[in-house]
């Protein structure tokens, strides 16, 4: 029910914050998505989309954190 899928904004239409619509690409599919709740989102950004609305802009730096942690535990392991 709370499923939200990440996609990339490839185009934005509409100037008013409540009427902004983005063309958002999910893999090979492109859909129109309401951007009213992410006024800070820009073309090229990734957003999480739920029932036709972007509910959050994805923070790229934070997205890398778990992979940095995985590298850290890798380097802690004694080789062999």
């Amino acid at each position: 029910m709370c499923l939200a899928v990440p996609g990339q904004i490839i185009q934005i239409e509409g100037d008013q914050p409540e009427a902004r619509v983005g063309r958002v690409r999910f893999g090979g599919i492109v859909k129109d998505v309401n951007l009213a709740f992410v006024p800070e989102a820009r073309q090229g950004d990734y957003v999480l989309v739920h029932v036709g609305f972007a509910i959050s802009r994805i923070d790229e730096a934070e997205a890398a954190r778990v992979f940095a942690y995985l590298k850290e535990i890798d380097s802690d392991e004694i080789p062999g």
Partner: protein, 368 residues
């Protein structure tokens, strides 16, 4: 797809699972709140990667599962009227009411349509001015802004043949109901990540203080869930209880302010009955006075009825983490996805449906 595939990497998942085994010295029971997380855990076998001393119990975070029978009956009554186009997300259509489900209404000739977004229902109202279009507004905080926007837009565009039947529920009051039960065995929570994208983390601080449980905001992919479990166990092992954000790529601590503002305008907080659990104070949303004209309950005069639930269905105990699906005597026999007794067997995110689909009735085995 970016932000999905890399969080499903099997080697990375095994590494995190190994790290969890390394840091856990005693038995711990952790509840994942959201049905989407339950589905991912069972689908990807995440519980089978964990050491035997870590138990995951499945929470009440499936709005389809907790919508009370009387609201399903209201939906069925409204959908049966010839003037109505009844619209809903797909998984509500098969939830059993007292005698039938919404698909049965459709089979009898009722105009019941599945939509992807509440805005699709609003567009249908605009295109069919001679019909009443009703949208079944179910969901948690994640879905509330979208449903609120449909109502606010109906007002702005003066679309008067649109209304919503509201069955909105809120997550933190349900977590408190579980924690305050004398039977509670949950020692830490994975909080529902997408609920937190909207509401932020502030509602969890009082729960952490009052019940001394770690609450880790967690995403939905295998690495997200394993990282949430790891952080939760680190807190438990250290004797700490804090709100921690393990889904920071999508959740900002203050949440989504424009969405919160619209929810506060369109809805008000009310007591709600949860199917299988009972009434939880201040645990739901209803339309605010300002938007009462869009309330389908009032428009169609179906408010104020209660219904007894099937006594055989254990979904209430499953939703509180007190029973596993296969402990129910009806599981897989008298209750299947084709003939469900309760909603946890209907929704793709219901724990019973997930076990039926992915576990073939067997107990999870530790393979880590």
């Amino acid at each position: 797809m970016k932000y999905l595939d890399e969080y499903r990497d099997a080697d990375a998942a095994r590494k995190l699972a190994k790290q969890i085994a390394n840091i856990s010295t005693q038995p711990w029971t952790i509840m994942e709140v959201c049905g989407g997380q339950t589905h991912a855990i069972v689908r990807f076998g995440i519980d089978q990667l964990l050491p035997p001393n870590i138990t995951l119990v499945h929470g009440p975070g499936c709005p389809v599962c907790v919508t009370p029978v009387e609201i399903i009956d209201q939906a069925i009554e409204i959908a049966g009227r010839s003037s109505v186009i009844f619209t809903s997300f797909g998984d509500m259509l098969r939830v059993p009411g007292t005698v039938e489900d919404l698909l049965s209404v459709k089979a009898r000739g009722g105009d019941v349509r599945m939509v992807y977004s509440p805005m699709d229902a609003l567009a249908m109202a605009r295109a069919n001015p001679d019909r009443e279009v009703v949208f079944f507004a179910v969901g948690f905080e994640t879905t509330a802004p979208a449903n609120a926007m449909a109502v606010a837009e109906a007002r702005r565009q003066q679309i008067t043949n649109f209304s919503i039947l509201v069955s909105h529920v809120l997550v933190p009051p349900a977590m408190e109901a579980i924690l305050s039960s004398p039977r509670c065995r949950v020692q830490g929570f994975l909080a529902a990540g997408h609920v937190c994208t909207i509401m932020g983390s502030s509602e969890y601080a009082p729960l952490v203080q009052k019940y001394h449980v770690p609450i880790v905001i967690t995403g939905f992919e295998p690495l997200d869930i394993l990282d949430g479990i790891r952080r939760c166990i680190e807190q438990l092992e250290d004797g700490r209880a804090e709100v921690e954000n393990a889904y920071a790529r999508a959740v900002f601590l203050e949440g989504n302010r424009p969405a919160q503002a619209l929810i506060a305008d369109v809805f008000r907080v009310v007591h709600r009955r949860w199917r299988g659990i009972g009434e939880i104070p201040q645990s739901g949303l209803a339309l605010s006075e300002k938007y009462a004209e869009f309330d389908a309950e009032l428009r169609f005069g179906v408010a104020g009825r209660t219904v007894e639930e099937s006594s055989e269905c254990l979904s209430g105990l499953v939703l509180q983490g007190l029973k596993k699906p296969q402990e129910c005597p009806a599981f897989g026999t008298r209750c299947t996805p084709d003939r469900p007794l309760g909603a946890t067997m209907v929704s793709a995110e219901g724990a019973c449906a997930a076990y039926y689909r992915y576990r073939h009735f067997s107990e999870p085995n530790y393979v880590g």
